[in-house]
Subunit: 296 residues, 2 copies
DNA sequence: CCCAATACTTCAGACAATCTGATTCTATAG
DNA sequence: CTATAGAATCAGATTGTCTGAAGTATTGGG
């Protein structure tokens, strides 16, 4: 490699300071060292960077371009140094996260944004799965953390509760179940209609305990398509309240008066491995989630 | 600067080749030099990059990230070297171009794209002006080349003809001038309607010789707005044929049978300074324009 | 189980690149 | 026409990097 970052640093200092002498001061060198470095850069590139006009040197056109490119190069180099500093201060290089799509994504995103705002340079990879698929991915991908509705506990895992999420049994206002006039709905009545359920792609074996088990169940891959399906009147189903608040308020969706209760709540869990302690980024994320998910 | 491009180059070579020994071969060094460089990088960053597992070393998580960033850094450094090579082979660092918006932009763009395709890294700045504004900008911005309809000649400039551009006098099919039934139109007839003209923002003093000089002239800033104005039936005016071919074919615009002729042609000129010879990029652009503009 | 091969580390000395400090050159302001 | 600021040059000191040889650890084969 002909180039040397020190040469570029010298070039930048000379231009910023306006003279070789002042650049030397900034770099804690002697002026002749600056001359040497600039000369060396010119020699290596076989290019004249400064036009010596009497006692003042001005950049050539080529010099200007090399300078601009050099600044970018230096910025990238500093970035690497910053990354290294982060890593050795206990921030992990990367953090893999798997979350259940039933959880309020918005507050999780807010937490992630806070991390970014704090200048944390850990690479964060986020995957959204459903039900048993979350744990499946967490283990299969050897991820660092998962946010999940429930999971098969084990000695290997540590979990912390986050704030409660509530689900409601809803249908479109046009749906037959919404238009009926009984005070309450029984299970057989529900069974006459299509139930919508988010399907766990992992076939993980954990059955959905909230499935009513009627004859006709449509499976959807996530809550966004499920919401569309409910809105279109395709069927009824459980939806996390935070995803349908607007539609309930507007009356597009209505809560069904199921006799055994039209709502249920669960406490999402933040889970990580006991044998692999979280780095500072992970710890900070836990703090943010515990504060933020609660506030949401 | 703690970082050294040679360290990064070594790191990349080790990972690419899969061993310190093979990396040494690739770098034309001895193996201990590779060890030294990797160690030095680890020391400077205070970071363990390789986990020594027996006789084989594998990257740590941090190492993987530093490696990825390092590759990017190296790519940028190589880019600078490539730029330098270009410059010393006679390609100018930057090339400023001013062109008249009446010329066929498409073939000019094709020429510029060819330059890019040829891997020429000269920074090209293109400005579009009109009439006298072209020369005004060319001189004011100390640009390298202009493509112009006509200009005030001088010893300082060299010009080469490009292929002819034809303009036609047109109006919208809905316009009164288009609906009239005379075989030809006289100047007084034209004077009864709004003339559209592209206005030279520079106030350069070169009057537009094709202006009819009626009572009502609307000035527009470029040919694209002029075309819109003509299409909307706001008035009539001269338009370069290449900009309105589609509208003429579709019948949206019609050519007006002006008695003194409904068309005129001019030969655009490619102009540069005689005291500042073009670099290789400029020369190549001239070639491409002479070939391409002709073929258009 | 031991030997040979592989892969890396360590170290001393050689060499090369860079820095310092003194001096010289040159243009410009006063 | 000096004084001065800015840069170049040069010899010698210093530092960083490379080489080559010897050393350590791991692995695979016989």
């Amino acid at each position: 490699m002909d180039l040397d970052l020190d040469y570029i640093e010298t070039l930048v200092a000379v231009v910023d300071e306006g003279s070789f002498a002042r650049a030397a001061k900034r770099l804690n060198r002697v002026q002749s060292a600056v001359t040497y470095n600039v000369r060396q850069l010119e020699r290596r590139l076989s290019l004249t960077l400064f036009e010596r006009q009497g006692r003042r040197s001005v950049l050539t056109d080529a010099g200007r371009i090399i300078l601009e490119e050099g600044r970018i190069l230096l910025a990238r180099a500093r970035r690497i140094e910053r990354l290294a500093r982060h890593f050795r201060h206990g921030f992990e290089p990367s953090l893999q996260l798997v979350i259940d799509g039933a959880l309020p994504l918005e507050s999780i995103m807010r937490a992630l944004k806070s991390l970014a705002d704090e200048g944390i340079s850990t690479r964060i990879q986020l995957k959204v799965e459903f039900l048993g698929g979350v744990q499946f991915r967490f283990q299969g991908d050897d991820a660092d953390m998962m946010l999940v509705k429930e999971y098969r506990a084990s000695e290997q895992f540590v979990s912390r509760p986050l704030s409660e999420v509530t689900c409601a049994l809803v249908a479109s206002r046009e749906h037959a179940l919404a238009r009926q006039t009984h005070a309450t709905l029984s299970l057989p009545e529900l069974h006459q209609h299509v139930e919508l359920s988010v399907h766990d792609a992992s076939e993980s074996g954990l059955p959905d305990p909230h499935l009513f088990g009627g004859a006709r169940v449509f499976y959807l891959s996530d809550f966004y398509s499920k919401k569309q399906a409910v809105l279109l009147g395709l069927g009824y189903g459980w939806m996390p309240l935070h995803l349908i608040r607007a539609e309930l308020d507007a009356g597009a969706l209505v809560e069904l008066p199921f006799e055994a209760g039209s709502r249920f709540s669960f406490v999402p869990l933040l889970v990580y491995r006991s044998d692999r302690p979280l780095g500072r980024t992970g710890q900070r994320l836990v703090e943010l989630l515990e504060a933020g998910v609660g506030a949401a």
